[in-house]
Amino acid sequence: MLSESCTIAGQVFFKRAMVDGRAAWKRPAGIAAGIVAMTAGFFLWLGLLHQYELSYLYPFEGCDRIILVAACTVFLKERLTRELTLGMLLIVAGTVLVSVS
């Protein structure tokens, strides 16, 4: 979960930097913050990869959809439409199935 949270935080920083970062310093600062957050997640991930099969471990990342929806709604004010909800539910169901296989 810590690895997932770092990844989502990085994505929110990236999105903010690419959309709002019109001031000269804002875009590089936002991208740098995103890279720092994602690097932390990356090293946690490498440690896990060392011990488990990738095809088993990777689907657990499916949990990040739920964290992402919350983050996008709160920090980016993005809306979840019916199609997005349906697609997301299928993806979460799919990742759960892959995880338990």
Partner: protein
């Protein structure tokens, strides 16, 4: 569609900057990097601790290059696609990575995992539709 107001008009935009293409390249590069990282860590042996020796692995560096390409294409896609949509479209990695593991690492895919992969594929297809429609309208 609410939540998709940011896609800029196609006029003046080059074809290789199409958001769906950028997300697709990002997905392929990200999946390739995961397989390369797995190769790099597996080469160290199951009981060896991860240490500086890992950085001598060519697979690790190839994975890092693939990650950088994935990051650049991803950042460009984020300029015009809402994160909530782009991130869910990137779930295509849940299809590409297991298939890559099967093809390149020799890992098996049990039947239940195939069903899961099918669910993810369907979910990504449903999510890709609104973006494609918006692109056509513009």
């Amino acid at each position: 569609m609410p939540g998709l107001p940011e896609v800029p008009p196609p006029s003046g935009r080059r074809w290789f900057l199409h958001p769906l293409l950028l997300i697709g390249v990002s997905v392929v590069m990200s999946s390739a990097s995961q397989i390369l990282f797995k190769r790099a860590t597996t080469a160290m042996g199951q009981n060896g601790a991860i240490g500086p020796g890992l950085f001598a692995s060519g697979a690790l560096w190839a994975g890092i290059v693939a990650t950088l390409i994935s990051l650049v294409t991803w950042l460009n896609a984020l300029r015009s696609v809402p994160l909530i949509l782009a991130f869910n479209l990137s779930a295509a990695t849940y299809v590409v990575v297991p298939l890559g593991c099967w093809a390149f690492l020799g890992e098996g895919i049990p039947p239940v995992r195939w069903i899961g992969i099918a669910c993810v594929t369907l979910g990504v297809t449903i999510m890709a539709r609104p973006l494609s429609r918006l692109e056509e309208r513009l």
